[in-house]
Amino acid sequence: MKHKVPYALKLRSFPGVGIAGVASLVFLYFPMFVVAAFSFNDGNRALAWQGFSIRWYERVFHDAAIISATRMSLIVAGIATVASVVLAVAYVLAMDRLSRAGSVLAGAILAAPIVVPEVVLGIATLSFIRLIGMTPGFLPLVLAHTAFCFPFAMMNIRARYDGLNPAYFESAADLGATRAALTWKITLPLLAPGIVSGALLAFVVSMDDYMISSFLTSAGTTTLPIYIFGLIRKGVNPSVNVVATLLLLMAIAVTVATTVLTGRKKS
């Protein structure tokens, strides 16, 4: 429950919090703003402003390496998102049937990717796939992404599921709906906002990953973060400014979409 607090009261009680708040937002946004601004810089490398131009956008949209890395990232993120969401829906709808110990254990294992440092997960996965006789490449990449996207998809779907009102179902059951029909026709549609926001977050998490992927890629499976990491190591680069700006836009779009979707739950 949120309380409306009269403006005057807040000011008197906590002077300075407004300054801290605005300063923090500036701190969080200024660096990204600078990058976005320089993505429109006409200069070749120079950090000095040399006039407005969209030529680096044209360059990036025609850069075969960036395009193929982006395509690879989209494919991996797409498959990992669909797979992790499908698994997460099945898991959420059935997890209450597990024994208490089982559900605690399963929950801990499945949530581990959030807590374990990425570099550890990366080398651990590499060690594991080599042990079972796989070599780095597309399949291990997709499987690993699915595993670490899963908790993000699952949390959203579960939050939605926990918030469902049983009243909807009683009436449906009263009207003689079978269990399968109940799941397909009523539960899943009601879960939809959670599924979509879970999918969006899983997608972003997959698109974001550098560390784990770096141990699992091979020729032809270079993802976008791996490619831009290579560019960044060389220093300031106008193409990276453009890609960074586009990724920022993606984050904005996903956040707004998620807010809208989860916001609807309350009303």
């Binding site: 919090v17 120079a46 374990v116 690993a144 899963f150 059951a173 799941t183 990724l247």
Partner: protein, 308 residues
């Protein structure tokens, strides 16, 4: 979207649309294979020996991976204690500590500011804090190269005041500031969410009754926000401790933290058992930290959640 560290206290009532328990199998299988499996394997690998020359492990038991962490031969062949890897852990600890401390210190007033706004404003602010959270970490780190370069934004601004360009990049301070930048939202979000339901009239009433400002903060606000602080510690400290991108991109090859030390063992240094041993040490520390947090939370009956 909250993941309770302390598992839900009561069993949920039978839920509508429930499926048979078997439907959890695929997810559990995935978790066993690609989360638990790798962790088990790396633990096993940490007790194996390094092949004569190169990557991988020979499946022969050895504790050399762990010994290497503390003991080395010097140039004269004498075996002795060697603190260099410990100092990489220490540097990681210091960096993670300051990252967490600064993030929480900044997040505290910000969380109060957000929580005292109208609901509509709160939603907008929440969104503004969430956007950086979901922006690619690589490009957020890259942004600091642009800011801190010798001909970068900060030096340009300093130049307007006639100040000579400073060397700001490629040191542990650059790494630290980008770590704070990266993890600040991880502190603001849980601290805000634990304050979002707080009735600020309590603080107001305390003032009216003549409480000092510090007492209000310590006795009224802090207990309310402490659950969020615990979450913030968990969410900032662990990833900062194991960070790789920030020291590599902003440290100029001179800032050696545990994350890049481990990555190096599976890269250039090609010493898998040592890399595995370092990972197990990190995992053990993480578990220990989580356990300490949970114990503390239980004792002070604070609800901790990894609110995302």
């Amino acid at each position: 979207m909250a993941l309770n560290l302390a598992q839900h206290e009561q069993r949920a009532l039978p839920k509508p649309g429930q499926l048979s328990g078997w439907f959890t199998t695929p997810a559990i299988l995935l978790g066993l294979l690609f989360t638990l499996g790798p962790i088990v394997v790396i633990t096993v690998f940490s007790f194996m020996s390094q092949p004569a020359n190169g990557s991988g492990v020979d499946l022969i038991f050895s504790t050399k991976g762990y010994e290497q962490f503390l003991f080395q031969e010097d140039f004269y062949g004498n075996r002795g204690f060697d603190g260099r890897y410990l100092s990489a852990f220490w540097l990681s600890f210091v960096q993670a500590f300051f990252t967490t401390f600064a993030s929480i210190a900044i997040a505290f007033p910000v969380a109060i500011w957000m929580a005292t706004k109208t609901e509509r404003t709160q939603n907008v602010l929440l969104m503004l804090v969430t956007i950086p959270f979901w922006t690619n970490l690589l490009v957020r780190t890259y942004a600091w190269i642009i800011l801190l370069s010798e001909d970068g934004t900060v030096n340009t601004v300093l130049g307007w005041f006639g100040i000579e360009p400073q060397v700001l990049l490629y040191n542990s301070y650059a790494t630290l500031i980008s770590l704070i930048f990266s993890f600040l939202p991880f502190a603001i979000l849980p601290m805000y969410s634990s304050l979002a339901g707080f009735d600020f009239r309590l603080a107001e009433a305390a003032y009216d009754l003549g409480a000092r400002k510090l007492d209000v903060i310590r006795k009224i606000l802090w207990p309310a926000v402490s659950g969020g602080v615990l979450s913030a510690i968990a969410l900032c400290f662990v990833p900062a401790f194991g960070s790789y991108l920030q020291p590599v991109l902003l440290g100029g090859g001179k800032v050696l933290m545990v994350g890049n030390l481990i990555a190096d063992q599976y890269g250039q240094a090609r010493n898998w058992p040592f890399g595995a041993a370092l990972s197990v040490i990190i995992l053990a520390l993480t578990l220990l930290g989580a356990w300490a947090l949970l114990t503390w939370a239980k004792r002070s009956s604070t609800k901790v959640s990894l609110a995302v």
